[in-house]
Symmetry: D3
Subunit: 248 residues, 6 copies
Amino acid sequence: MLLHHSTWQEIDAYLTRSKAIIIPIGSTEQHGPNGLIGTDALCPEIISHEAQKDADMLVGPTFNVGCAQHHLGFAGSMTLRPSTMIAAIHDWVSSLAVHGFERVLFFNGHGGNIATINAAFSEIYADRSLAGDASNRGPVKCKLDNWWDYKPVMDMCMKTYGKSHGSHATPSEVAVTQWAYPDSIKQAEMSPQIAPNGRYTDAADYRAKFPDGRMGSDPSLATPEDGGKLVALSAKGLQESFAKFAAS
Amino acid sequence: MLLHHSTWQEIDAYLTRSKAIIIPIGSTEQHGPNGLIGTDALCPEIISHEAQKDADMLVGPTFNVGCAQHHLGFAGSMTLRPSTMIAAIHDWVSSLAVHGFERVLFFNGHGGNIATINAAFSEIYADRSLAGDASNRGPVKCKLDNWWDYKPVMDMCMKTYGKSHGSHATPSEVAVTQWAYPDSIKQAEMSPQIAPNGRYTDAADYRAKFPDGRMGSDPSLATPEDGGKLVALSAKGLQESFAKFAAS
Amino acid sequence: MLLHHSTWQEIDAYLTRSKAIIIPIGSTEQHGPNGLIGTDALCPEIISHEAQKDADMLVGPTFNVGCAQHHLGFAGSMTLRPSTMIAAIHDWVSSLAVHGFERVLFFNGHGGNIATINAAFSEIYADRSLAGDASNRGPVKCKLDNWWDYKPVMDMCMKTYGKSHGSHATPSEVAVTQWAYPDSIKQAEMSPQIAPNGRYTDAADYRAKFPDGRMGSDPSLATPEDGGKLVALSAKGLQESFAKFAAS
Amino acid sequence: MLLHHSTWQEIDAYLTRSKAIIIPIGSTEQHGPNGLIGTDALCPEIISHEAQKDADMLVGPTFNVGCAQHHLGFAGSMTLRPSTMIAAIHDWVSSLAVHGFERVLFFNGHGGNIATINAAFSEIYADRSLAGDASNRGPVKCKLDNWWDYKPVMDMCMKTYGKSHGSHATPSEVAVTQWAYPDSIKQAEMSPQIAPNGRYTDAADYRAKFPDGRMGSDPSLATPEDGGKLVALSAKGLQESFAKFAAS
Amino acid sequence: MLLHHSTWQEIDAYLTRSKAIIIPIGSTEQHGPNGLIGTDALCPEIISHEAQKDADMLVGPTFNVGCAQHHLGFAGSMTLRPSTMIAAIHDWVSSLAVHGFERVLFFNGHGGNIATINAAFSEIYADRSLAGDASNRGPVKCKLDNWWDYKPVMDMCMKTYGKSHGSHATPSEVAVTQWAYPDSIKQAEMSPQIAPNGRYTDAADYRAKFPDGRMGSDPSLATPEDGGKLVALSAKGLQESFAKFAAS
Amino acid sequence: MLLHHSTWQEIDAYLTRSKAIIIPIGSTEQHGPNGLIGTDALCPEIISHEAQKDADMLVGPTFNVGCAQHHLGFAGSMTLRPSTMIAAIHDWVSSLAVHGFERVLFFNGHGGNIATINAAFSEIYADRSLAGDASNRGPVKCKLDNWWDYKPVMDMCMKTYGKSHGSHATPSEVAVTQWAYPDSIKQAEMSPQIAPNGRYTDAADYRAKFPDGRMGSDPSLATPEDGGKLVALSAKGLQESFAKFAAS
Ligand code: NI
Ligand code: NI
Ligand code: NI
Ligand code: NI
Ligand code: NI
Ligand code: NI
C-alpha cells in the first residue's frame, strides 16, 4: 500500500490495523560511470514498493535528497546540510505522529545518510524527553534499515561480487536499478577495473581520490537479473523487519 | 532526460548544452474521497517526465512533501514547516549551482507551496545580494510554474468542469493521476456533489469547514482520458516555458 | 487606537470589546528618484493610523524592514532574510496570542513581502496543527491586506495614472507619502518618463535592469492631493475589512 | 536626515560625507498605569529625530519590538526571542554594510535589550573573525547608546525625580513621550506611590512581583515640560556621541 | 559535590535537599604572554570546585568555550557564535529542569560572555512566557555571577594591582590559575609593562590594538600565593551567593 | 600539551610543528549505580591528558555535554539536541581552522554521540563543498576515535569482563574513572548482576527498560587497577592514531 496512491480514508482504515509506516530514504549523487545519479533513492523505493505488493505494509513518499556533500565534485549530485535534513525528517515524523503513527521505519539506500538519520531520531525523541508529559503527541519509535543489510542480501553481494563489491557505486545497487529501469542501463569501461578505496572529507578531496566517482567497486559486473534477485531478497527482509517492528 | 536516471558524465554533457533544470515540487496531503494523497507531487512528476520525452530537458528529483499544515486533520497528510522548506530548497539550489546550473524551474503541483517557494527564492538571492561579490557561486535564477497555469490547461479545466472545478481535490488533478495510475482509481460518492468554498487557517479549522477534504470541487467528474489530455497540454506548456527560461 | 500610544489597562479594556489588531508591515528600500526609502512602511502606517481615528480599531507597531534583497543595489535599502522575517512575525503573533488576540491583520505596503508573510502564517498555524491540543495558546487567525488592493483604491490608481502606474515606485505610493510628509516631497526628472518593466532575481540583476530603481512607473505624476484621496479610500477599505475580519 | 524620508540618491550623497548611521531601537511593552506601551521605542525615535534636525546625522527606521518576555503578563506587550532579535539585527547591519556603512549606532530605549544587542554585535563580528578575509563586506563597527545614559540626562533624572525614578516606567521616559505626544497623556493614581523594586525571571514572576507593571518608580511626576528638557539633553548627547563614533 | 563525580542516585538525594546547581562557564581564548588559554574556564572551575568542598553545593560540568570571536586573531582561541551559545545554554538548563532543578547559577569567568548568557536566560524564560501554562516544565530561575565581582575579591584586586589590573589577562585571573596549576606558570616579559586600553570589534581590530593580547593589565604581577587568596575569597562569595539564591 | 594550559605563543610555536589537535568529547549522563555522571566526558579527558604527557600532542578543551536525551529519566543527565551539538562542533572546528589547524581528532567517550559527531563533520565539510573556492578557510579534516575502540583496549575489555561488559555503564569505563578519581569510587549492589540489553527510544522508554540505568553490564567488576591498564592501552592507541592522522 502506497501512501501516495491512497486516499485519506484508506489511511484511516489502515491505522485501525497498524500504526507503522515505511519511508524510503536515499540520496541524489553520482554513482560512477554506469550508475544512475538516483541510485540511492531508487533502490529503497524499488524494493519497498515491491515488498508492499504482497504484505499489508504502508510505504510513504521517498526522501530523495540526502547527505552527499562529498559528491558535489561530480555534476548532478545534490545534498542537504545535515542540519536541514534533521529538520526535514523531524517534520515528516511529527506529521505522521499527528495521525497516530507510532512506528516509522526509514528504509535507507545511502551510507552517508546513516549518521544524520540517527541524529534526527535523537532530535525527535528529545522533544518528549525534554518536555516531560506536556506534548500531546504520542511516543513515536523510529528505525533505520539499510536495504543491503539483511543477511541474505549481503551474502549474495559477497558471493556474487566478492572483492569487486566495494562501497560506492557497487554492482549490487547498479543491478537493482538495472532490473527496475532496463531502459536506463548504461555501458561504460571501468578503469581501473576495481576502483580505489579510502577515506574522504569534502567534495574536492573526494574527487581527487576517486576520479570517476566509484569507491572500491567494479559495477560493470551488474546485471538486471541479479538486480531482480537482490530486490526479492531485500523485499523479503524488509517485510520481516517491518512486521517485527510494527509488533514491537 | 531524468537526473535520477542519468550518470554524472551525462549531466556534464548536458551542461555544455544547457544550464537549466526542472524540479517537480508538490505535497503529500489528503485529496478528498477519490483523490490520492500524493496527487500534488504526482501531477508535476507525471507531466514533467512526459515533457522531457521529446525535448532536451533535464528533470531532477521530485520534492515530495511541501507546505500542508492545514491538511493535518486528515490521515496521511504530511508537512514541512515553511522555515524547513526554505532551508531544503536553498540546499537543493545551492547544490545545483555548484555544477553550473543557472536556471532552476520549480514545477509545482500545490497552491499551498507558492508562498514558501517564492520566499525560498528570496532567501537564495539574498546570499548574493548581501555578500557582494564574495561568493564564488554564480548567479542562479529560479522560476515557479504551476502545472495548471498554462492557458490551454486552464481553458480546458474551465470548459470541462466549470463550477465543479474548485480549488482543492479538483477533477483536473484527479484526472491526471487517474491517467498515470489507472490501477489506483478510486470510486467514491461526493456529498454534497460540490464541496464548500472558503478560507481556512490551521488543521482543525480546515477539517471543520471541509469535512471530506475537498474545497469547491466535484472530483467525481475526473476521467483518465481527460487526465491524458491535461498532461499533454501541460507538458507542452512546460516545454515552451522551459525553453524560454533556459534562453533568458 | 494605537497600541504604542496606549497603556496596558487600555488594551485590557479593548480586549473585552475585540480580539482583533492591525499590524502595519512594510519595507525599507529605494523608491526611485522621488520616492522615499520608507515608502512601503510609511504608506500602511499612514493609512492605518488615519483609519483608527474614527473607528474602534487597534493598530500595533509598524514592521519596518521586510523582504527587499533585490533593492540592495541602491543605497539605504535594507532587508531581512525570509527565514528571519518568518521568525519575527512568528514571535509578534505569538506575543499577541498570549493576551488573547485571535485576529491579526497585517496591513502591507510591499509586494515583495507577500510570499514571506503568507509563509509566516503557515509557520504559525503549523504550531497548532502539529501539536494537536497540547498548546495552551488559543487559535489565531492571520490575514494579509495590501493597502492598494481595495477596489476603490485600485480604480483610482488606474483612472489617475493608467499606464504610468507601474509596479515599483508608483505615483500612488509616492502621493500617499507626499500627503503625509509634505516637507519631504522630492523633485526629480524621470528618464525615461515611464520606467521599464520586467522580472528580476538578485540585487545586481535588479540594478542592471532598472537603473534608477523604478519599475514601469512615472512617479512624477504624484501629488499630495491625490495622496490624500488615496489615503481616505484605503482607510475606508481597511475599516470595512477589519470589521469583517474581527467579526469572522 | 531620516533614511525613511530620503531617496537613495540622497543616501548615496550622504555616504560621500559619512559612513555612519543611527538605528533607534526599543520595545513594545507595558509601562505601568500612565506610561505608553510604545515608550521604549518612542523615546529613542523622538530624541534621534530631534537630534538630526540641526546636525548632519542619518537616522534609520525604528526597531520597534525588542526583548520583553517578562512583560507578557500585561496586555499589549510584545517580544522577540533573543535568537530572533540577533538574526534581525544581523540582517539590518549586513544590509547597511552592503552600501558601505561602517558605523552603526544603536540608540536604545530599553534596558532589557542591552544584552541581546551586544550579543548581536558579537554575532555580526564573528562573520569576519571566523571567515578570515573571504567576505567582501567591509568591517562594520557597532555601538550601543542608551538615551538616558548621557551624563546630563542622568543628572537631571536624579535631581528631578531622585528615589522616585526607579527602573521601569520611569517618570523620565514617560515625560519624554508626554512632550512628544501631548494628546496621549494619561492620568492614573499610583498605588503605592513608589513601585516596588526587585529581580524577576519570566512573565508570571514579573506580574506577581510588580502588579501594575512599574518597577521602583513614580511616573506621576512626569511632565511634558521636563520631557522636553530631557529630549534636548539627550539629543545633544547623541549628537556628540555620534560625531565621535563617526570619526573613530 | 560535583555532578560529574556523582551517581544519579546521589543527585536524586541532593534534589530532596536543594533545587539549585552551579554551572562554571568560561571561555577558551588567548590571555596574553603569561596567561593560559583556558584561564576564563579554569578560574570558575577552580573556585567552584573549591567552594563545594565545605558546603552542600552541586557543581555541574564546565561550559568551556564561550563568546570570544574578538580573540580569534591569536592562536588557540575558540568561540561559539552567540546564537549557538544561546541554544546550548538553553539545552543545558532545559535538561536540568527535567529533573526538577529550579535555580541554575552560572558562575562566569569571561566578561565577553555576559551579554550572551543574559540573552540565553531571556530565551529560556520566553519558553514559559510565550506558552502560557502549556509547558510541563516548572519555572527555572537563572543567575549570573562573575567570580571577580564579589566585593572582597574586587577589593583585593584593586588593592593588590591597582592600575595594573586592567580588563583582560589580568594579574588576578593569572594568579588563580598559577595557584591551581603551578606546573603551568609561564615567564614572560611585558612590553609595555601595562598594556593599552580601548574598545574593539572583530578579531582583526582587536589584534591591531592589543598586539600581545592583554588589555590594560600587567599580569607579571601575578603570584600563586595571591591566587590562593583570591580563590578563597571568591569561593566564600560563591557559597553565600548560592545559599541565598537557593533559598530565594 | 594542553591548550587550556598553554599561551597563544606556545600554540603559535606548536603550529609550526603540527596542524593537528585532539578534542576530548563526551556526555553528562547517568552511568548506573556506581558509575559517575561525568564518566563519558572524563574517560576521553583522562586518557588524552595522559597520552600527551610523553608525546607532542595538543589536547583542547573537553566537550562535556553531548547527546543523551535517552538518559533524561535519571537525575543529573544533560543533553544537547543534535542540531545544537552540530552547531557547536561546527563553531569549535571553524575557530581552530582560523589558526591553521587542519586535522581535528575528536576523542569520544559516548556511543550516543557518534551519529551526531559524524553529522557535524558533514556539516563542516559542506561549507567548502557548497561554496566552491570562495571560503578563505583552509580544508580541515576531522576524525572520530572512541577511546575503547583501539584493539588492545577492546581485547582487554573482552578478556577481563566478557559477557559482563555490556554497552552502558560498563566496568571498563567505570574502572577508568576509578583510577583517575579514587576518592569518588562508589559502592553499590547490582541487581540483577548483569543488566538487561535492548533497544530504546526516548527517556521514558529507556527508564522503563533499564531501571537502574545500566545496559548489559556488571560494573561492580571495575577496579582502579584495571582502569589504569585501560588508560595506558588507550593512550597508546591515541598516540599512534593521532600521529598517523597528523601525518595524513
Ligand atoms: Ni549508492
Ligand atoms: Ni492538489
Ligand atoms: Ni513600494
Ligand atoms: Ni521603558
Ligand atoms: Ni579572562
Ligand atoms: Ni558511558
